[in-house]
């Protein structure tokens, strides 16, 4: 089973890297870019567990390790089943 987990700063936390990317894009003439938030992507392969068990483990590891819940949020999706 392959899972993709997306970690990014909470909306209430200033993201200076995202701001810098936004400014660069606007400098290049992409005036329609309103905002940019930068984050991290984890692609994780799991084996020997059911989808139900994965649904329990993924939020657990995201909360404990992959994201710092004080400043970051996470979302995830299953890319490949089985």
């Amino acid at each position: 089973m392959k899972v993709r987990i997306l970690v990014s700063l909470k909306d209430s936390v200033l993201d200076p890297q995202g701001q810098t990317v936004k400014n660069a894009l606007r400098t290049l003439g992409y005036g329609s870019i309103k905002d940019v938030r930068q984050g991290k992507v984890f692609e994780i392969e799991l084996e020997g567990i059911s989808e139900k068990e994965a649904e329990k483990i993924i939020p657990e590891i995201s909360d404990k390790v992959l994201a710092n819940p004080i400043i970051e949020k996470f979302s995830w999706q299953i890319l490949e089943k089985g």
């Binding site: 209430s12 200076p16 390790v65 004080i70």
Partner: protein, 232 residues
């Protein structure tokens, strides 16, 4: 005065471990030992120091992987029993990731690695790490970090302020707190923070790099001397 035993923790990627050892052992004349992160033995030290550096290459988040080191379980128990723990720079980041101190670090506001002398103002001189200084005193101590922009949600900031947990704030040379002096953009200009119980402190500036006149300042020594006199 009886000699104390300090323990300096080494993680892969620590790079201020020997400087900290030198400041404690040679400058302050205290028995100092290194503690390897993979061990489970604190060797009966009186105070644990988590030094600066780039533990685990700052992978994932600064200090995050180090917080899962075997030895950190012992450090956590030591801290919960009232043992003195000082985290310097990366050590501060580890303490935040470990949950021994509230909040988290964000990238510096200008996205630059900052390596320079700064001034910090003593806000709380009642802690074991600052009682030899005076409230309002200005210390000149260098910083060297990428992620030192302290952040905590408003309710936590309020709690920190209510409990006088801010030990040091970035200021100018005259002790004024302003945006310009707050080089990394920290909430409330926080440069040093203590836990509610008053035995675990994290600070971004490096007192070990300001422990002798030859280094440009010896203002950092007051932190080590506070610990030494507190424990004696």
């Amino acid at each position: 005065m009886a000699k104390l035993k300090f323990g300096v923790v080494i993680f892969p990627g620590s790079n201020c471990d020997y400087d900290t050892y030198y400041a404690l052992q040679d400058v302050c004349k205290q028995e100092t030992t290194f503690l390897w992160h993979k061990e489970h033995d604190l060797k009966n030290v009186d105070c644990v120091v988590l030094p600066g550096g780039f533990s685990y290459g700052d992978y994932l988040r600064s200090g995050s992987i180090a917080a899962f080191s075997p030895l950190m379980q012992e450090v956590k128990e030591f801290a919960l029993k009232g043992g003195l723990v000082l985290g310097i720079c990366n050590g501060f980041q580890v303490l935040l990731e470990l949950g021994l101190l509230p909040g988290a670090m964000l990238r510096n506001k200008n996205l630059k690695f900052l390596c320079q002398f700064v001034h910090i103002r003593v806000e709380n001189d009642k802690t074991p790490f600052s009682h030899r200084a005076k409230r309002g005193q200005i210390l000149k101590i260098p910083i060297a970090h990428f992620d030192g922009n302290y952040f905590a949600p408003p309710e936590i900031i309020q709690e920190i302020k209510n409990n006088s947990q801010i030990v040091f704030r970035y200021s100018d040379a005259e002790g004024q707190i302003n945006e310009e002096a707050n080089v990394n953009g920290s909430s409330e200009s926080i440069a040093g923070l203590i836990n509610k119980a008053g035995n675990v402190m994290g600070m971004m500036p490096h007192p070990e790099r300001a422990s002798e006149v030859l280094l440009g300042s010896e203002d950092g020594r007051v932190i080590f001397e506070s610990i030494i006199t507190k424990l004696n």
